[in-house]
């Protein structure tokens, strides 16, 4: 039964972003809200939130940063303990920053993520993808999410941060603790946050004692703004964010794309026959399976599109809903790999546009190309056995596929 079929739940007034059916397939509920009299729904669940569903509204909110602040950006409120005790001042800049600080919080990290700067991770990512496939290719089956997609971004980020890639499983556990289980369990969220911050506190101390060449953490520790060294809390927060923002998100996009390709032999053939299509095809997969929903906190009482929003209200930035709005995209529910016009907002819009987007695209392209080179034909072993995570970041978590051997 879907939320919409359930007579007790009205999506317009009582949607539940953690409902199992919503996580499995949120689009019918989003469509119902978007086409209703009130395309900005409200629900009291999980601390309460507004959910706009139209492309223009979501882009406008993302661009109006004075009214819609980034003081809280997760889809559920933080645990009360977060504001007290150790690391209370460590946030997640620039994602948790508002102007004017946001400007330098973002500007210091952008050079690490420009297209020309991330190109150096391509070969290492390809080698990693090949070695992951080596481990299961002779079995004729493998888990495209758990054995492949999940393993890639965490190692790329660890390399970028200069921390050991063999801690990948530990890092992944912490990130899931913040972005998955922790969203509905404050204790898990707090523990995961502390694990991440303790780990990077030690890394920062190590870089202060032993500065490294060409190292992101060392570079940030030495960075100056207006003639002053940046505060250590800033560097600590950036490390926190890079781990949390770069792992679940990209792995979800890779996994969802493989889930799609497993079911669409015609799209696999199209990519094989037209390799020039890859860059635009990646954008289309990101549009259709946008993994990330962010939040904003309303800064002052306001009326937005007829909705009375109060200071402190949470607004969900459902980029997945925006990307399926028929007012913006023809045939929004179809994946059209060579779509001509695609102003998708999987990476957000406005001043917080995903700083890691060029890295994410590179990982997505290399992961999918390598898979299709080695495993050109594959299918879902059992479509109903695929499991999904959702809420903040939506993507497959178990996705067994089978394929011919040899």
């Amino acid at each position: 039964m879907t939320a919409t079929d359930d007579p007790r739940i009205d999506p317009l007034t009582d949607y539940d972003i953690f409902d199992r059916d919503f996580i499995l397939d949120p689009f019918p509920v989003m469509d119902e809200i978007r086409e209703s009299q009130c395309p900005i729904a409200h629900s009291d669940r999980w601390g309460g939130s507004w959910m706009p569903t139209r492309y223009n509204d979501i882009v406008a909110i993302a661009q109006e940063y004075e009214t819609f602040t980034s003081q809280q950006i997760l889809v559920t409120p933080p645990p009360p303990q977060q504001a007290e005790g150790a690391y209370a001042n460590v946030a997640a800049p620039p994602i948790s920053s508002d102007p004017p600080e946001h400007h330098w919080h973002r500007r210091l990290i952008l050079p690490f993520f420009a297209p020309q700067a991330v190109a150096k991770y391509e070969q290492g990512t390809r080698d990693l993808c090949n070695s992951l496939i080596d481990a299961f290719i002779d079995n004729g089956r493998g888990d495209a999410a758990a054995d492949y997609a999940q393993q890639i971004p965490v190692r790329v980020i660890a390399t970028m941060l200069g921390v050991p890639t063999d801690l990948s499983d530990t890092f992944t556990g912490w990130v899931r603790g913040v972005l998955e289980a922790g969203l509905t369990d404050p204790k898990v969220r707090m523990e995961s946050r502390m694990n991440i911050l303790n780990y990077f506190r030690a890394q920062i101390d190590d870089r202060k004692a032993n500065p490294r060449e060409n190292d992101l953490i060392t570079t940030l520790l030495n960075a100056e703004v207006d003639g002053q060294k940046v505060p250590e809390e800033y560097v600590h927060g950036v490390c926190n964010l890079m781990l949390v923002a770069g792992v679940d998100t990209t792995w979800s996009a890779i996994g969802a794309s493989l889930w799609h390709l497993a079911q669409h032999p015609e799209h696999r053939a199209q990519l094989r026959e037209n390799p020039d299509l890859w860059p635009m095809a990646i954008e289309e997969l990101l549009r259709a399976y946008a993994p990330v929903t962010m939040a904003r906190l309303v800064g002052h009482d306001t009326e937005f599109e007829g909705c009375p929003m109060k200071a402190g209200d949470r607004v969900l930035m459902s980029f997945p809903a925006a990307n399926r709005d028929p007012r913006q995209f023809d045939r929004p529910d179809e994946v059209i790999l060579d779509r001509e016009h695609n102003r998708h907002v999987a990476f957000g819009a406005g001043i917080h546009r995903c700083a890691g987007s060029n890295l994410a695209r590179l990982e997505l392209r290399v992961a999918l190309q390598t898979w299709l080179d080695r495993i050109p034909e594959f299918e879902l072993e059992d479509p109903s056995a695929v499991t999904w995570a959702g809420g903040q970041v939506r993507g497959p978590r178990q996705c067994q596929v089978r394929f011919p051997v040899g």
Partner: protein, 64 residues
């Protein structure tokens, strides 16, 4: 046809460079730069229009 980027509106999505790499590139911060001074060669006009249609910030300005 000429193209310009509104630097205040551009937030570095890089969709322009993906759609039309001959016309758009990136500065050190990942924001768009136009690679061609003056009029575009006619064979790049369609690509430039596609780039415009892929910019989420509507930061690309086409002057016919």
């Amino acid at each position: 046809m000429k193209v310009r980027v509104d630097d205040d509106a551009c937030h570095g999505h890089q969709m322009c460079a993906i759609a039309a790499p001959e016309v758009f590139g990136s500065d050190d911060y990942g924001n768009a730069v136009v690679l061609i001074d003056g009029d575009l060669p006619p064979e790049l006009e369609a690509k430039a229009r596609r780039a415009e249609g892929n910019c989420p910030e509507r930061a690309i300005i086409i002057e016919d």
